[in-house]
């Protein structure tokens, strides 16, 4: 295990005055992976990243990089480099000078430095821009210079603090793909901070979702998306369909629930401890995993909840339905518009339907976080 751990974060807490920006966080970031710290602003992701970079010192806990403890090591002695949120390009230096900046502190002669700069600029398609100044570049170019400057030093870990935030939507999609490709080809560990779940999913091997200074869930990107461990993660990942019910029984790997909106559902336990009978629990189903039917499918073993259509938004590719169950719970359903439009428009607000889903798509929620896998 330690051999393939790039950054080991152990029980790290950072307090500013009374408030803990980062609260007892432990994470292992693997060598060569694209790891995202995801969360809303103020969740502590940037502070955690800055602690890895050495710009903040943890109040408690330790950070090791490639097995060496770096908790109190200043930034200039760490084998990591950072791409700053607004790039932090030196406005008084040219692109070439920016990229060469860090190389000056390496045992390297002038020609070697020049070669390295040319190499990195080439890699990021910046050749020919050496003599420009940052204020003569476009946003995308600046972002690449920031990347080139950090990569020139061949860091073991590259830290990226929302580096795409300043780009427009279209460019952003492009750069996401480029970044991912670059990371794969270089094999460097990337630690990427973002508040955009889609961005995180597009690029990351693994994701840690943070909330109020704590890691709510960390794991493979797809798993975090598909099987959020907490209500917060579920919400943040855009799965806001919460069902509640009480445990009837918990045979083997499943839990049988009596839903508060009516009907029964057998939900996979996901390996956690089995709840006791009678306990109230909640689970979540992603909107695209929900289906609206005219008929109750419970008899066929498909959980079905009676709902009323409240609203419908046609989005071209899909239609978003808002429905409500008898208990007042609201649900959102994404329906791919595979059928002709006329047919899908048959349900008007007020129509009484059944909300169906596969039991395997239901994710049982646990209180609190810490679902590291």
């Amino acid at each position: 295990m330690p051999n393939d751990v790039s950054v080991a974060i152990r029980g790290v807490t950072k307090r500013f005055g009374e408030t803990a920006a980062v609260d007892r966080v432990s994470l292992d970031i693997r060598r060569g992976e694209f790891f995202s710290l995801l969360g809303p602003s103020g969740c502590g992701k940037t502070t955690l990243l800055r602690m890895i970079g050495g710009f903040e010192t943890p109040t408690e806990g330790s950070i090791a990089i490639d097995g060496a403890d770096m908790t109190d090591t200043p930034p200039y002695l760490r084998p990591v480099n950072m791409v700053f949120q607004h790039y932090a390009l030196f406005p008084h230096l040219t692109v070439g000078e920016n990229v060469a900046f860090g190389l000056r502190y390496r045992p390297m002669d002038g020609p070697a430095r020049g070669r390295r700069v040319a190499e990195v600029l080439e890699l990021l398609q910046l050749s020919g821009f050496e003599a420009r100044r940052p204020d003569q570049l476009s946003g995308g170019q600046r972002q690449r210079v920031a990347l080139a400057r950090a990569l020139a030093l061949e860091p073991r870990v590259l830290l990226l603090d929302e580096p795409l935030g300043a780009l427009d939507q279209k460019l952003r999609k492009e750069v996401q793909v480029q970044l991912k490709r670059l990371q794969r080809s270089l094999g460097i560990t990337f630690v990427f901070v973002t508040h955009d779940q889609e961005e995180a999913l597009t690029m990351s091997d693994r994701i840690a979702v943070m909330h109020r200074g704590r890691v709510e869930q960390a794991g493979d990107a797809a798993r975090v998306f598909e099987r959020p461990a907490t209500e917060f993660v579920a919400n943040f990942m855009g799965a806001s369909n919460f069902f509640s019910g009480s445990v009837v029984e918990a045979p083997g790997g499943d839990v049988v629930l009596e839903l508060s909106g009516g009907g029964r559902a057998s939900v996979p336990l996901d390996g956690g401890p089995a709840p006791r009978a009678g306990e109230a629990v909640r689970f979540v189903v992603r909107p695209e995993k929900l289906d609206l039917r005219r008929r109750d499918l419970s008899e066929r073993g498909v959980p079905s909840v009676a709902v009323t259509v409240e609203d419908r938004v046609y989005q071209g590719i899909s239609t978003i339905w808002s429905v409500r169950d008898a208990a007042g719970g609201r649900f959102t359903v994404y329906e791919q518009n595979e059928r002709p439009f006329e047919e899908s428009s048959r349900w008007q607000p007020g129509a009484r339907l059944f909300l169906c889903f596969h039991a395997r798509d239901a994710v049982l929620l646990r209180a609190g976080g810490g679902g590291a896998s």
């Binding site: 500013f16 005055g17 940037t46 800055r50 710009f55 903040e56």
Partner: protein
């Protein structure tokens, strides 16, 4: 968010600030304290200070406040009033003269000319203040340039009395303080968003209304800064009124200067000096309250 924004106090600041504390503490605050103490003492017969034999009795007699009491005498109140009045007039004239200049440089003039124009505002101040003042005496005196020009042009038949009066003092004060008004006004006019002016015009406001209701309020911080920068030094001036005013009037600055340099009454001079300082501080407190409310400070 910056690294320290959320953090507590940083010890790293002390090595940076300590030298300044030391220099200003020893060579500024300490001397001022000495002077402040002196303002409660009595003048010795030959200048210097009269030794105090019984401090307790001295304090109880209230004599230590005698200089402050003396400064409330109508003669001195009249001097203070005059000084304030001159400073106010200087400030108003500077403001009226500077605003169009700053407006022209910041808004009307082509942008590439702005630095040149600003430079031209400052360059005269690279010559000695004394020489500049003297040059004005040279221009304004009875047989000076202004009168020669006036008489040559036939505007007057006999020389006008231009020197040694309030008019010449005012010219000297305005001349000396003008850039301190133009520069902050320029700073705030330059930041003025032109689309606001266009928006106002678009909403149907005539040019004069736009100026009164948009431009002036938007540049109020610059106006406030300029007023402070001009008013404060005008209040303590004494060389201008000596040279251009022919020493015929006394301003607060002259009063202090006389007490130190001529009357050798250091205690009284110190008392007046501290009163002057207090007046200036009061003005600045007002300014600070204004900038806090406004949340914008052109000075700092």
């Amino acid at each position: 968010m910056s690294a320290d924004a959320g953090g507590g106090r940083s010890r790293a600041a002390y090595p940076l600030i300590l030298p300044t504390w030391a220099v200003l503490g020893v060579f500024f605050l300490l001397p001022l304290c000495v002077l402040f103490v002196i303002s409660f003492a009595q003048r010795g017969t030959y200048g210097g200070l009269k030794p105090i034999e019984d401090l307790g009795a001295y304090v109880l007699s209230g004599k230590f406040l005698s200089h402050y009491a003396r400064s409330l005498h109508p003669i001195y109140l009249q001097i203070f009033w005059r000084s304030i009045w001159m400073a106010v007039v200087t400030t108003i004239v500077c403001l009226l003269v500077s605003y169009p200049v700053a407006y022209y440089v910041a808004v009307v003039a082509p942008p590439r000319r702005r630095n040149l124009l600003l430079g031209l505002v400052v360059i005269p101040f690279w010559t000695s203040f004394l020489i500049r003042t003297y040059a004005w005496m040279f221009i304004l005196r009875t047989e000076g340039l202004a009168n020669r020009l006036l008489m040559a042009s036939g505007l007057t038949s006999h020389p006008l009395e231009l020197l040694y009066n309030d008019f010449s003092v005012l010219i000297g004060l305005v001349y000396g303080e003008l850039p301190f008004m133009i520069l902050p006004l320029y700073a705030s006019l330059e930041k003025l968003d032109r689309s606001l002016l266009e928006a106002s015009a678009d909403l149907g406001a005539p040019a004069r209304e736009t100026f009164r209701r948009v431009t002036i309020p938007m540049t109020a911080p610059g106006i406030a800064a300029g007023i402070v920068l001009v008013f404060v030094p005008s209040l303590g001036q004494f060389i201008v009124s000596d040279l251009l005013g022919g020493a015929k009037t006394i301003l607060a600055g002259n009063l202090v200067q006389n007490q130190f340099a001529v009357a050798r009454n250091k205690p009284f001079g110190s008392a007046v000096a501290f009163e002057l300082t207090a007046a200036v501080l009061l003005l600045l407190l007002g300014y600070a309250a204004y900038t806090r409310r406004r949340g914008e400070d052109v000075l700092l």
